[in-house]
């Protein structure tokens, strides 16, 4: 445990010193705040865009606060996941191809602990970034529209946070399985897309698939009678554990990928 704490503190220091702790949350805040703000000013933006024939009347129904929050989550589902994958794709692969693991993993270090420390650091980053982003969206929605129901927001936060955590963990696992960080990002994004598309197509058959998470999170705002989320939570935790175990296994099998 003491050794694990040392590794986690190293990861934390790395987040700080490489400014990841700054730019990832900043990107999340900007992305999330943009949605309520741009929705609110959409009629004005369109009116100023020109090209409209004289006398054209645009009528856009004012969305509810809940709808705005749900849109924010959908926005995050594209760019948020991309940022997350890009920021963590090299977490293991770069150390392994660069030769750092050749020095760290010849010490009496637990492979699971090594992966867990990286994952925990990522969890910290995701939590901070998402808290910032969701907070910003919630604030602007309350100011510009109406305060969304906090109880449903809380459940949505939890579900969506779990989805982001899963995205990070999958990227980490691919980063341990593959030599190239870019390939890890692509694979994890593709897998996440496949999960959410299949869950969207077959919501009944795949009601316990982790791909239901973003859908369920948005549904907290849109459809008060949204399905149960416990099966999804359990299956996601299972996938998380499997991803960590896979990463640890890959590292134990080949601690370094240096060619020379």
């Amino acid at each position: 445990m003491r050794q694990w704490t040392v590794m986690y503190r190293k990861e934390w220091l790395e987040l700080l010193r490489t400014y990841k702790l700054l730019w990832v949350p900043l990107a999340f805040v900007l992305l999330s705040a943009m949605q309520p703000v741009s929705t609110y000013f959409l009629p004005d933006i369109l009116a100023h865009a020109g090209n409209l024939p004289e006398g054209a009347v645009i009528s856009i129904p004012v969305p509810t606060a809940e709808e705005v929050m749900a849109q924010t989550l959908q926005q995050l589902n594209v760019f948020g996941l991309l940022i997350l994958a890009l920021s963590s794709m090299n977490v293991i692969s770069a150390e392994r191809t660069g030769g750092m693991t050749a020095m760290i993993l010849v010490k009496p270090v637990s492979f699971r602990g090594f992966v867990a420390s990286k994952w925990a650091a990522q969890l910290t980053l995701v939590t901070i970034a998402f808290a910032g982003g969701f907070g910003a969206a919630y604030y602007y929605t309350s100011v510009l529209f109406r305060t969304p129901d906090w109880h449903r927001s809380l459940i949505a936060i939890a579900l969506y946070w779990l989805w982001l955590v899963l995205a990070g963990a999958l990227t980490l696992a691919f980063s341990a399985l593959l030599r190239s960080g870019a390939a890890a990002a692509v694979c994890s994004l593709a897998l996440l897309a496949a999960l959410s598309v299949t869950a969207g197509l077959l919501p009944d058959a795949l009601s316990a698939s982790p791909g239901m998470l973003p859908k369920l999170a948005s549904a907290q705002f849109l459809d008060p009678a949204a399905g149960k989320f416990w099966p999804v939570t359990v299956s996601t935790l299972g996938v998380l554990a499997a991803a960590m175990e896979t990463a640890a296994f890959a590292l134990r099998k080949r601690p370094t990928l240096l060619s020379s």
Binding site: K10, M100, V106, K107
Partner: protein, 331 residues
């Protein structure tokens, strides 16, 4: 004399004079990467407190062998056993390892990295700080360099830092992959001196191309060639086995000296000397001798009598380089 492809004198044979168990023992270790066989059937023993040099041309499998010792690579077949460890037990706590190209986190400072390495090996915060400062000093990275970010280090400084981090937990076996090849002459000298001190404290296995370094430092030599061991044993034994009954005499490289040497050669005849051959440049001659002692006295006398402007006289000594080249050239 030709060098037998088999071990000149197996390192194991020394157990008779030194009744100690091998600290690390390789049994039939092979490693293939796909179709490429990098190591074949390596049997090897490293003894506690001795310093072994791993030699061999590029691509002979030195780095592969070193990675197998450290556990970074698993052998395809065969086993590596550490003294006092059950088979399959994790030997990593015993080993300090310096890779050929040590890579660090550029955002860490040197002293942070050694402390991190120490703490990973189970040292307490205070121990790690004290030992880190001591080792940085010892490898020639002072407090000022230790505070700098590693991103700004030169290759030589990284090599020194790599050595310091490998020593943090006082490993019983120090494994170094080309520890001095990236260093300038001063750095090389420093590190060699440091290794000579460390030899007193721990068992060392290091690989190198620089035969002179091996000769200077090590007790045992392992010569790898195309994935197999072609020569291994104590350096003295190997020298003895490969001693050539030859004598090389070199005079100053100028015209009168060369003529004098030529004259002497043309009239040379002594029972202890079998043959003589002028070497390229015509200022040196290699004599094959029947009796080294007798030939030495005779040649020295001749040098004095004829006033040959002697520059160098070498007698019956096969350097590691000769042995290495012979073994590598042998088909």
């Amino acid at each position: 004399m030709s060098i037998a492809p088999k071990q000149a004198k197996p390192a194991d044979a020394r157990t008779s004079t030194e009744p100690q168990e091998a600290f690390v023992r390789f049994r039939g270790v092979s490693k293939s990467f796909g179709a490429l066989q990098s190591l074949r059937q390596i049997d090897l023993a490293l003894y506690e407190g001795r310093c072994a040099a791993l030699l061999g041309p590029n691509g002979a499998g030195k780095t592969t062998l070193i990675r197998i010792v450290t556990g970074l690579l698993a052998p395809t077949s065969g086993s590596v056993r550490f003294q006092g460890l059950a088979p399959g037990a994790d030997p990593r706590a015993l080993i300090g390892y310096l890779p050929q190209h040590p890579a660090f986190y550029g955002w860490m400072s040197g002293s942070e990295f050694v402390r991190y390495a120490g703490r990973l090996c189970g040292l307490s915060k205070r121990e790690a700080a004290a030992r880190g400062t001591e080792l940085l000093e010892r490898v020639g990275l002072g407090a000022a360099a230790g505070k700098r970010r590693i991103g700004g280090y030169s290759g030589g400084m990284k090599q020194r830092l790599g050595l310091a981090q490998a020593l943090m937990h006082r490993p019983k076996l120090l494994v170094l992959d080309e520890p001095v090849s990236a260093l300038d002459p001063v750095g090389r000298r420093d590190v060699m001196d440091l290794l000579r001190e460390l030899k007193q404290e721990t068992t060392i296995l290091f690989s190198t191309h620089v035969l002179h370094d091996a000769e200077e430092l090590c007790d045992d030599v392992i010569l790898l060639q195309e994935g197999g061991i072609s020569i291994s044993g104590a350096i003295g034994d190997i020298r003895g086995l490969h001693r050539t009954p030859a004598l090389t005499l070199e005079v100053e490289d100028n015209r009168p000296a060369r003529m004098q040497l030529g004259e002497w050669l043309s009239g040379l005849s002594h029972p202890s000397i079998a043959s003589a051959a002028l070497l390229p440049g015509e200022y040196a001659v290699k004599l094959q001798v029947r009796d080294a002692d007798e030939a030495r006295i005779y040649v020295l006398r001749q040098v004095l009598e004829r006033g040959l402007p002697l520059a160098k006289l070498e007698i019956g000594h096969a350097s590691l380089e000769d042995i290495f080249l012979k073994a590598v050239d042998a088909p």
